[in-house]
């Protein structure tokens, strides 16, 4: 079998490392991000200030923290429409438990973690048990949580917002963990940015270097085949929903500890921001393809665009128009770059 030796293959066109890098899903999005950045650097003077950079990063991180598990879930072939309100639920539980029990806020934080994980598990288990599309299941959870958030808050607090827990024991420490910020030079950096980057790193490691990551790709790429070769698809999906819940818990605690008070109606609609970030970052809607880094770049593009329009002081009536146009252009550029990279690679 002499001709089977692993010598350079004549059927492969040579391919440089640069090109290889360009072929990665997230690096298409990076080009989009750079383009958006350059655009606003010219269009909006204040955009290039260091302090603005902190604001943009903060806006990106609050979306990005949730975009990471949502991207993982999308790679695993499912959606979670309840992700937005689950953040609020998590904050509400934490706040109301601490307040009503007059307990140290850390107790509330712990209870909230358990409750939120249970919500995630509920989504996942309903999904694998009923075999209904995740769109329907999580839409049901979304509506129910929206109702529960409002109904329970009014029942317990008597108003649509929680009571302030700013004066309770344990608040300062919890605030430090979830909502502190440091000033580095003239940039104000929120702790959410650290959470965000940490989550991206962990998710990337899990996706590329663990069995669970392999299973996530397989569950989304071809669930039938994955099941046939013995991948615990159901367990993987439940785990993904719990990962979403875990990050919702982090976001929820941030919400609580940075604003003291939680409005029960919040979070509705945010689920789409997370999905947008994941998709801009290169996740396929159909599952089986994407990356955590991509979702971070997607969140960053979204953060830059939505804040850049404010910095540019464009007519606010047209805000959504600009937002839509920018997102479309960024994604188009992303797709175009990827196509070019593949064709010439």
């Amino acid at each position: 079998m002499s001709d089977l030796a692993a010598v350079a293959d004549e059927r492969l066109a040579p391919r440089s490392t640069a090109r290889r890098l360009l072929g990665r899903p997230e690096l298409g999005a990076v080009v989009g991000a750079v383009a958006v950045f350059v655009f606003f650097a010219f269009a909006a003077d204040p955009f290039l200030q260091w302090s603005s950079f902190g604001t943009v990063l903060y806006a990106s991180s609050t979306i990005g923290i949730m975009a990471v598990p949502v991207a993982l879930l999308m790679i695993g072939g499912e959606f979670d429409l309840s992700a937005g309100v689950m953040v609020t639920s998590s904050a509400l539980v934490s706040s109301m438990f601490s307040f009503q029990m007059t307990a140290n806020v850390w107790v509330g934080v712990g209870v909230s973690l358990l409750v939120t994980l249970a919500l995630g598990a509920f989504n996942g288990i309903m999904l694998v048990r009923t075999k209904l599309p995740s769109f329907i299941i999580t839409l049901g959870t979304f509506l129910m949580l929206t109702g529960l958030n409002l109904g329970l808050t009014k029942l317990i607090s008597g108003t649509v917002a929680t009571k302030s827990i700013g004066d309770m024991e344990g608040f300062p420490a919890a605030h430090d963990l979830f909502a502190s910020h440091w000033t580095v030079g003239s940039v104000d950096l929120q702790v959410t940015i650290a959470w965000w980057l940490g989550l991206v790193a962990v998710a990337t490691w899990v996706l590329l270097r663990t069995r669970a990551g392999n299973w996530i790709f397989a569950a989304g790429g071809n669930a039938g085949a994955a099941r046939a070769v013995g991948v615990p698809v159901a367990r993987t999906k439940v785990g993904l929903y719990m990962a979403v819940a875990f990050c919702a818990w982090i976001s929820g605690q941030h919400l609580l500890f940075s604003f003291d008070v939680v409005q029960s109606g919040e979070g509705v609609g945010n689920e789409f921001l997370y999905i947008i970030a994941a998709v801009i970052g290169g996740c396929l809607m159909t599952g089986g393809y994407g990356s955590a880094v991509g979702s971070a770049v997607g969140a960053f593009i979204f953060g830059m665009t939505s804040k850049g329009i404010v910095y540019a002081q464009w007519n606010p009536d047209w805000f959504k128009f600009f937002l839509g146009a920018m997102l479309l252009l960024a994604t188009l550029l992303n797709a175009w770059v990827r196509k070019r990279a593949e064709a010439t690679a």
Binding site: L12, W205, R209, R211, N214, G221, G224, R227, L284
Partner: protein, 296 residues
């Protein structure tokens, strides 16, 4: 009929009077099958006869509706293919179980990934995975350019080889192959049969599905014939000739008629070097019942 064997121990896999319906389609009715260590059981039959359905029951992909299923004498009811895999049953499915967008090496080890490190640092042993994949495919005669390319971009036959190499690599006690050679080239087909024989020699039980009676007869020890969802025959190799087997697979009498029609066809082209058209026929599948020996 296949109850007494020379191998003393309980069969590795024994299906008794198994039935299976998809909705109102009765795909299998009262089929029995035994797989013994060191033997190759061939399942033969027409298109749509229910062969793949039988395979899917063995490999735990579908539960059976009635009848019993025993692995090494123990009654089982597999809830998922994982159960079957854990009992040492590795399968190559006809509609290939691969994840198109994943790289070849990830597909190869999917569901049984080797890891290194411990605790939170436990991670995929990527180097081993790539190396093993490349080597296993090279041994089958597939020289992949790049084990990192998505398996969906491989040719049909290359994909088939990955699936077979994987099953062979992980096959612990029973190896189930659903038309493994269908998409394969001449060289690769030979390789696969060699692997099947080697697995048998290593003491594995093998279930082989094929439409090629020659392949079947070459390596098979027992033959289960399915027809429209029911068992139409079950033979040991010593009880049957290749010719009888072929005839039974093709549905008997109609075949002769067809052979005549076909044998006229090539006459329209240029005459083959040395061979008469009729002499060609035995060498290819369909009209094999007209093997020279048989007609002589």
């Amino acid at each position: 009929m296949t109850t007494t064997t020379d191998t003393a121990a309980a069969p590795l896999v024994a299906l008794t009077d198994v039935s299976k319906s998809y909705g109102n389609v009765r795909a299998l009715r009262d089929v029995s099958l035994e797989v013994h260590a060191g033997e190759i059981t061939c399942v033969l039959g027409d298109n749509g006869a229910g062969k793949s359905t039988l395979i899917k029951i063995i490999s735990g992909l579908h539960p059976h509706d009635s009848g019993s299923y025993a692995v090494a004498g123990e009654q089982v009811r597999h809830a998922s293919p994982r159960d079957a895999l854990d009992r040492g049953i590795a399968t190559v499915y006809q509609d290939l179980a691969v994840v198109p967008l994943m790289p070849v090496w990830r597909n190869f080890f999917l569901g049984s990934e080797p890891t290194k490190g411990r605790g939170p640092l436990r991670r995929l042993d990527v180097a081993t995975m790539r190396g093993t994949t490349r080597a296993a495919l090279l041994r089958m005669g597939i020289d992949l350019r790049d084990v990192d390319q998505p398996i969906g971009t491989l040719s049909g036959g290359e994909r088939q080889c990955v699936a077979i190499a994987r099953a062979v690599h992980f096959g612990a006690r029973v190896l189930v192959l659903d038309e493994p050679t269908a998409a394969l080239g001449v060289k690769q087909s030979g390789m696969v049969l060699k692997y099947v024989a080697a697995a048998r020699d290593a003491g594995l039980g093998v279930v082989l599905i094929t439409h090629n009676p020659h392949h079947a007869f070459l390596v098979g020890d027992r033959f289960v014939l399915l027809k429209r969802g029911t068992m139409s025959g079950s033979h040991f190799k010593e009880d049957i000739t290749l010719d009888e087997l072929t005839r039974e697979m093709a549905g008997g009498s109609e075949l002769d008629e067809l052979t005549h029609e076909l044998s006229r066809a090539p006459a329209a082209g240029a005459p083959a070097a040395g061979d008469t058209p009729a002499a060609d026929l035995p060498a290819q599948d369909p009209p094999a019942a007209t093997d020279p020996e048989t007609r002589a």
